[in-house]
Symmetry: C2
Subunit: 743 residues, 2 copies
């Protein structure tokens, strides 16, 4: 019954079948390009038709690929001098640090001339400038290679890939791979689990389109105040009208994944079920449009306008497809009765035939008296009568024996065969007709592909905004005030994930950086006291605000950030054979070399991987450089309590610490960040509690006093204070002022 | 066919079936006792009959239970004031840190009076003093509780538990649970995997008994020089006669697990297969005895004597049991033809009966002409003739219809029933007879239980010695010289596990502690350079030597050690909710309070979990205390390079460091431990290589110079040098002498 003999090559990056795909994640196929002038990266999700391109620095390619986490990556084959070592190195890096499948294809896939030709042909345009792509752009070779590979593997129309979208990094808050991991945005660090990540915690979307879009928002938050405000205003409006929000969300429930259905329609792989779902979903759009139509927010108004109801398509599909249709064509029954007169007639014959057969069997049993006479069907000789062997001598003369089994004989009769022809051909012709009608429907639906894709984006965006509003209402999040100044003020902020799992036990904390306050904050405090949670939380709140979300806090004023940098405890990252300290320093150098005054920098224990004074000297010099030369908002959690002296020497540095109390011979962490350096005698105090003899703790205290007092002298001395910016000592030196209260 | 209606309660700690047990591990059931005078611990493995008792301090109980890693732990139920909070706390601790099943039993199980009575009754003695157990010993209550619980669950003889062995801790090198974990003796630290552990790496045993005994040797190495030497001499002799070693090992191959077979025989659970294996194994003993009989080593001579061949038992079993016997009794066939005349006769009848039945079926088909007549059997009415329903009118008159099915009728005849009685009863009687013969054999074999247990111990010990010899030959290990002095000298030592996986790449290292040299060694060097491997290796080599093994080195002189203490990098041990630093200090306090001058102490990065000066002060005071007050052999790997100054101040401290070279802009670790403190500018050097701007590294160096020179002044100053023992400065102060060569 199968008409076409299309052979499809299935690869990890070119899947379109729902059962093989994660509904909430894009399934990207990507291609990097290392050209003579610059580098570029293109990626496509054939299951949704999204096609992206981006020009970027060569050394940002790995980061970007890891962020996209594609299933498959296309690189040119090595061929003598061409496409050589650079690609080999890239492929090796990728294969070492991720589970991406690397696919090699001939170099000409990446040839700029043939790539441009195939792109122009695919999009049916004379130039790519309409997509913002110049004729000599570096994105052309990889984009062309992707198209070539898709047509090689798919051997079918790729009509749903209708445009190429150029990503401009400057519009987005940049989060590098290290930060993506250490802030646990998509997966947790230790178990690489989705559960427990930021995305998992805040995702309240109800559709696949919405989930994938929200995932994109989390990975690429915005950088322009007006665009962020546009989202916040939309979220705000849905929060204010919570009945409307609930109504919208109940429409979104059970909405089909339009993008993926369009993709299957365009590649001739849509199933009858897809059409039923598509029609059902289209029927929900008018209600959604109505709900949004009276909005005040510009974004919501636009979304209302984007609700393209396509009633004629819905009408057509509903009239044509049986609502309870089978998922396979094998037995027909897909096209609705009444849609096509010829089909209805053929089905009549086929159906009558069956009752005729039942009657015929009954008649033969009566005629022969053989009770166990049965009517059967097989592919070799069609319908037959089966009689147990022991009765074989009792069959009438007009039975023709066709087959002898162990215990039975099979016969045909003239009458049976004549009817069979009529019935079978009617059934077969009805199936063929159904298929042809279905194909026509597919073609008709394919004509709507571009409108459906726009609608899918619109529904996805509604889902995202509604998800954020739902989240904000459910958890009591507040709308952050966004501005362009270098400021970061959060009152009673909470870690969005940890606060959720701890509930009321979680201790909220304030943060003030930039603006009136210093840019650099040194945070000291014992292990396990919450330093790391606090600095991660600060970065996550900025990220959430810039993606358009409300945030867990009492109030917040956030000046947009261009990049988030993190250098966070490399617990087990013996990655790529480098020593942990080498990794630590490489990441730090990346921050120092790339941070601007608008970046947000989060440092956790920098300098720990080497010896004491070495690490302290580096941490000191790095902090001086950030405070005096870069001036970006920075949170630095450290065990080097000596760094707190910097607040005395530099205007742009201030100290905070985590409050600790002794209670019934135990140390209790209050998880509250308070101004000032921390009490230094905590370690010796714990040692005493742990049972170290008093002689040793007393001796430790003696040594500590000596070291501290020397360091204090040192810190105000000529050399350490050389880069001093504070004009007058604001207060007494820290150590003297904060004599231990514990010991 | 089952005669006995014994009901057995299966619990994790009382398994005897091979398929449920790990061949290489004991399966202990244990019971702690917290008495008014002291504490005790008893444990038993019912699958081997081993029964141990130990008196110990209350706070050592958890450690000891964790070392034994039993499957189940028996504690008394809480009952008002009795058996209350202490046990509840213990049970809670155990359940938190391990997967032991806690079983609660009434308090009277632990009652000293009834416990003693049941022990005396079980062993059939008037006093327990023969086992070294006094009448008021604290081991009696838990030992009695175990016996009570076993008889409650097993409901069968426990005759194979023939003695209680009192463990005297003083005879063994004590390894606490922390060291067991951090030295990866039984499992790796990160993945808790057996693969990659010391035991896995050195175990070359061929029998379950040997594997379990070697595991015991690894966990409890010896402490007396003569007993260690006894094992070394035996290993040496087998190494010297490698043909003999191979012969012994080929005898050991396919040796059955005697201990577990004895246990099943005594508890009436032995299978026919067990007897076949037992006989086969006994047949190997004479050859083993012969191979060992001309040994020089005292231990080997003793083992030769222990080879009890028990030929009469082997003869009996071979004569009685069919070699290819089925594993179940269901269909008989276990007892060999010729062993019992009555059995042979009954089997004859049963066998003839079957051919009679076949003949009868054939005859009936001929008689009736019904081709599909079949002879069948069911439980309700025995043998029957089945005929398809359509032929029912053709059956002879003497057929009696017994059952009507959908398509068939079932009949019996007089003749059929008469023969049936004869055949069936013969078959049934033969099965009954087989079972009774088998039971007699079991009883006969049970009479050998105690001799078999002694033999099992002997075979296990042969296996261990042969395993160690095989290991020594295969890997080129050498025999360490053992002595009673406080000395530890190893030339070209290797880490037994890491060296094995790295092969030639592994760099061997010397060690000299105690004796002529200082007791305390401070080891400095960058991350990943091999410090941790080196200090762990030193502990493992001592442990291996004291368990009786040869070691990977060129030569070694080892003064026996009473305890091994480790305090090793708590990477992820957020155990029991304590902060990592609290764990670190608790473990350190344990060392300081319990180490003697004969202990071996391994410290890795103590003081890291707190702020810089805090940690340095503690590490300084701890090192002073160990060097001046305890004087035990100590390896201390640290990032506090400042501690190297201690070698100038204290006689009993020396410095080593890990050699590092710069090569083509990369840092290469030579993994070689060399005398002297390490070069301090390594961190800043790496920072430069990692791409930190020159302005920052230059500033770091300036700060570092300042800190260092201040510290040098400080270290020779009044306070830090207060506990100085070195009479005259042996050389210039370290920092000045070792000015960086890298930067």
């Amino acid at each position: 019954v199968v008409k076409r003999d299309v052979v499809r090559v299935i690869t990890p990056g070119t899947l379109t079948d729902d059962i093989l795909l994660d509904e909430k994640e894009d399934n990207f196929l990507c291609a990097p390009y290392l050209g003579p002038k610059g580098a570029a990266l293109c990626w496509v999700d054939i299951s949704t038709g999204h096609f992206y391109a981006q020009q970027l620095d060569e050394d940002a390619i790995v980061d970007e690929i890891l962020r996209l986490s594609p299933s498959e990556c296309l690189v040119p084959e090595k061929r003598e001098q061409l496409f050589g070592d650079d690609y080999a190195k890239l492929a090796k890096q990728l294969s070492e640090i991720s589970s991406i499948v690397i696919t090699h294809r001939p170099g000409w896939y990446f040839d700029p001339y043939s790539a441009e030709k195939s792109l122009l042909k695919h999009f049916g345009t004379n130039t790519l400038e309409g997509f913002g792509v110049d004729g000599d752009s570096d994105v052309i070779p990889p984009a062309g290679a992707l198209l070539e590979y898709l047509s090689e593997t798919q051997k079918t129309s790729l009509a749903h890939i209708r445009s190429i979208k150029l990503i401009n990094k400057r519009s987005f808050l940049h989060i590098d791979q290290t930060s993506l991991r250490s802030l646990e945005i998509l997966r947790t660090m230790r178990s690489e689990d989705k559960k427990g990540s930021l995305f998992d915690s805040i995702d309240q979307t109800l559709t696949g389109m919405g989930a994938r879009m929200l995932r994109g928002w989390v990975c690429m938050p915005l950088r322009q105040v007006d665009r962020i405000t546009e989202r916040h205003t939309a979220v705000q409006e849905l929060c204010d009208f919570s009945q409307k929000l609930d109504d919208i969300r109940s429409q979104l429930k059970n909405t089909a994944d339009l993008e993926r259905i369009v993709s299957r329609i365009s590649t001739f792989r849509a199933s009858p079920k897809d059409f039923v779902l598509l029609a059902d979903t289209l029927r929900k759009i008018p209600a959604m449009k109505l709900l949004l139509s009276e909005s005040v927010s510009g974004l919501l108004k636009n979304l209302a306008q984007g609700c393209d109801t396509m009633e004629e398509l819905a009408d057509l599909l509903e009239a044509a497809i049986e609502p309870e249709c089978p998922s396979h064509f094998r037995d027909g029954g897909v096209i609705r009765t009444g849609f096509n007169a010829e089909l209805d007639e053929l089905r009549g014959i086929s159906k009558d035939g069956r009752s005729w057969l039942a009657a015929y069997q009954k008649k033969q049993i009566e005629l022969t008296g053989i009770q166990n006479l049965k009517l059967g069907f097989n592919k070799v000789f069609g319908y037959y009568l089966e009689i147990s062997r022991s009765m074989a001598d009792q069959v009438p003369g007009d039975y023709v024996r066709k087959q002898t089994l162990k215990n039975a004989e099979r016969y045909i009769t003239q009458e049976l065969k004549e009817y069979e022809d009529k019935v079978l051909s009617a059934h077969e012709r009805s199936l063929e007709l159904e298929l042809s009608i279905f194909d026509q429907l597919r073609s008709r639906a394919a004509g709507y592909a571009s409108r459906l894709q726009v609608l899918a984006q619109c529904v996805g965006c509604i889902d995202c905004i509604a998800s954020l509003a739902h989240l904000a209402l459910r958890r009591g999040y507040i709308r952050p005030e966004m501005c362009g100044e270098k400021v970061l003020e959060i009152k009673e902020g909470k870690h969005p994930v940890v606060a959720q799992s701890l509930g009321n036990e979680f201790v909220s904390n304030d943060l003030e950086l930039g603006g009136e306050s210093a840019d650099v904050m040194i945070i000291t405090g014992p292990n396990m006291s919450g330093k790391s949670t606090y600095i991660r939380q600060s970065a996550l709140l900025v990220l959430m605000a810039q993606m358009g979300s409300f945030i867990p806090a009492e109030s917040a004023r956030i000046g947009v950030v261009d990049r988030i940098f993190t250098r966070v405890g490399a617990s087990d990252e013996l990655a790529r054979g480098q020593s942990t300290f080498m990794v630590e320093m490489t990441e730090t150098a990346n921050i120092i070399n790339n941070a601007t005054d608008r970046s947000l920098v989060v440092l956790d224990e920098v300098g720990r991987g080497t010896s004491t004074y070495d690490g302290l000297s580096l941490a000191w010099a790095i902090t001086e450089h950030i405070a005096n030369n870069i001036g970006c908002r920075t949170l630095f959690a450290t065990h080097y309590h000596e760094l707190t002296e910097l607040a005395q020497l530099l205007d742009n540095v201030k100290n905070c610490n985590v409050a600790v109390r002794e209670w019934m011979d135990e140390v209790v962490f209050l998880h509250k960040i308070v101004p000032g350096g921390t009490d230094k005698s905590y370690g010796i105090h714990v040692a005493r509690l742990a049972g170290l003899p008093a002689s040793i703790t007393a001796r430790s205290r003696e040594i500590l006093d000596d070291l501290e007092s020397t360091f204090v002298k040192e810190a105000s001395g000529e050399k350490l204070a050389r880069n001093k910016t504070a004009q007058q000592p604001q207060q007494q030196l820290f150590v003297e002022q904060n004599r231990s209260v514990l010991e």
